[in-house]
Amino acid sequence: MKKIGVSLLSLGVAIGVGLGSVAVIDSAHAGWTPRKPIEFVIMAGKGGGADKLARFIQSIIEKHKISPKPFIPINKGGGSGAEALSYLKSHSGDSYVVMATLNSLYTTPLRQPGLGINIANFTPITRMAEDTFQLWVNSDTNINSVEDYVAAVKKAGPKAWKMGGTGKGAEDSLVTAMLSKKFGIKMTYIPYKGGGKVAKELIGNHINSTVNNPSEQLGFWDAGKSRPIASFTPKGKMSGKFAKIPTFAELGHGDDMVYYMQRSIIAPNGISADVKAFYVDVFDKVYKTKEWQDYMAKKGLLPGWLTGKALTSYFVAEQAKHAELLKASGEMK
């Protein structure tokens, strides 16, 4: 053991000295290539929707050997993403960190101004997709339309009607606020830890309705246990079996009943153009794989490739929208 150890170390040092110069020359002509594993920070905890998606992306990178060095997922879900944002901010100029984001990218800096985060400063890489939201009820109920739903909520009264969702101030609560405002209904909002748990609570009849993403309810919907009432998407955007779900706009409730969960990748500020180009290229290759395209179609995600300045302006515009939503729902003054 000892001997092997010593010889391995000396071998390592020898090769290190020898190869070091060669590798530098080699990588010079192909822009920037990473020399060590890349931290793939996930802005949410283990097991949630964002985590699954990020690990799926990582697995595509791995499977097709898209990057010469591995992407290593690290969950930093603390404080609704505050931990991840502080981390990215403190790693300014670090070429070995990228982050998978969700909508807490907008809401967390707004709700916790003390963090001093300006999302326009981060380097935008790409937007991979936009996840959608639908209004779901248990299929044991005889609610089949938005009208039935509104009538049922009004009949039950604000105390008895339970809407489940993720934490207060998070996406689900904003969509619920939109819904309440539009139809003048009141519901008791119960926050849970993740969308999967929310979906299960609906099937177990512990809550009356949810605004889950399709991926969270898909299994139950296929098994006939839950039913989508309407989709928070614009007309004609969804494909496959999701196209059958009416949108609020189609039902004549206005074009403003639209809400997306963005699934984007960002990097710290101050990275060089070569580094940025490398990451854009990696995720472009991921985006074009059959696996990713199939996944989006199957899970009801909308294709949404966006990069560069357009992505930054998208972030800024979305954050302004979220500021309005948060104010309307009373989560921010």
Partner: protein, 165 residues
């Protein structure tokens, strides 16, 4: 022992009080229709901690618990020296990780401990100090893909990554 018991109870009571203050940043009362507020759970637990500490202090004055009667020293000279050396060297080792990384900090700590506390022979010291970081590297970084902090020694590892990843 007696003195230590009191000092510890007072320190923990102070910590409990700090926790209560910190918890009170969020509502600690009962919100009608919703149940307890966000700070209630830690606040009342911290209050419970405080009461427990006070009860320890009370028993200390009454001398009713075994420890408050004990006349043994809390730490004898030997233990004290041991404790300070080990806790101190651990602190230095963890602090050094920020600068020279795990792969240089661990061997230095191992060498210090094995040689000066364990009084083992140099060949054994060297063997453990060299083998540990190598095994750690291959197990964590190559097999499990978990990068460990390296401080400014990072570039030294690039060739190893090129070879094994």
């Amino acid at each position: 022992m007696r003195k230590a018991e009191l000092v510890m109870a007072l320190c923990l009571a102070a910590f409990s009080a700090y926790l209560m203050l910190k918890s009170a940043e969020l509502p600690i009362g009962w919100i009608p229709d919703e149940g307890p507020g966000g700070g209630a759970f830690p606040f009342w637990l911290a209050a419970g901690m405080f009461v427990c500490c006070m009860s320890v202090v009370y028993r200390w004055f009454r001398r009713t618990s075994p420890i408050s009667q004990s006349t043994e020293p809390y730490m004898d000279k030997n233990t004290q020296r041991m404790f300070i050396t080990i806790a101190g060297s651990l602190t230095v080792m963890i602090g050094a990780i920020h600068f020279i990384g795990v792969y240089f900090s661990l061997p230095l700590f191992l060498m210090f401990y094995l040689r000066f506390l364990g009084r083992h022979s140099w060949p054994l010291v060297a063997g453990v100090a060299i083998a540990t970081p190598i095994v750690t590297f291959f197990f964590f970084e190559i097999a499990l893909l978990k990068t460990l902090p390296k401080g400014f020694t990072e570039p030294l590892f690039y060739p190893l990554y090129d070879m094994f990843l």
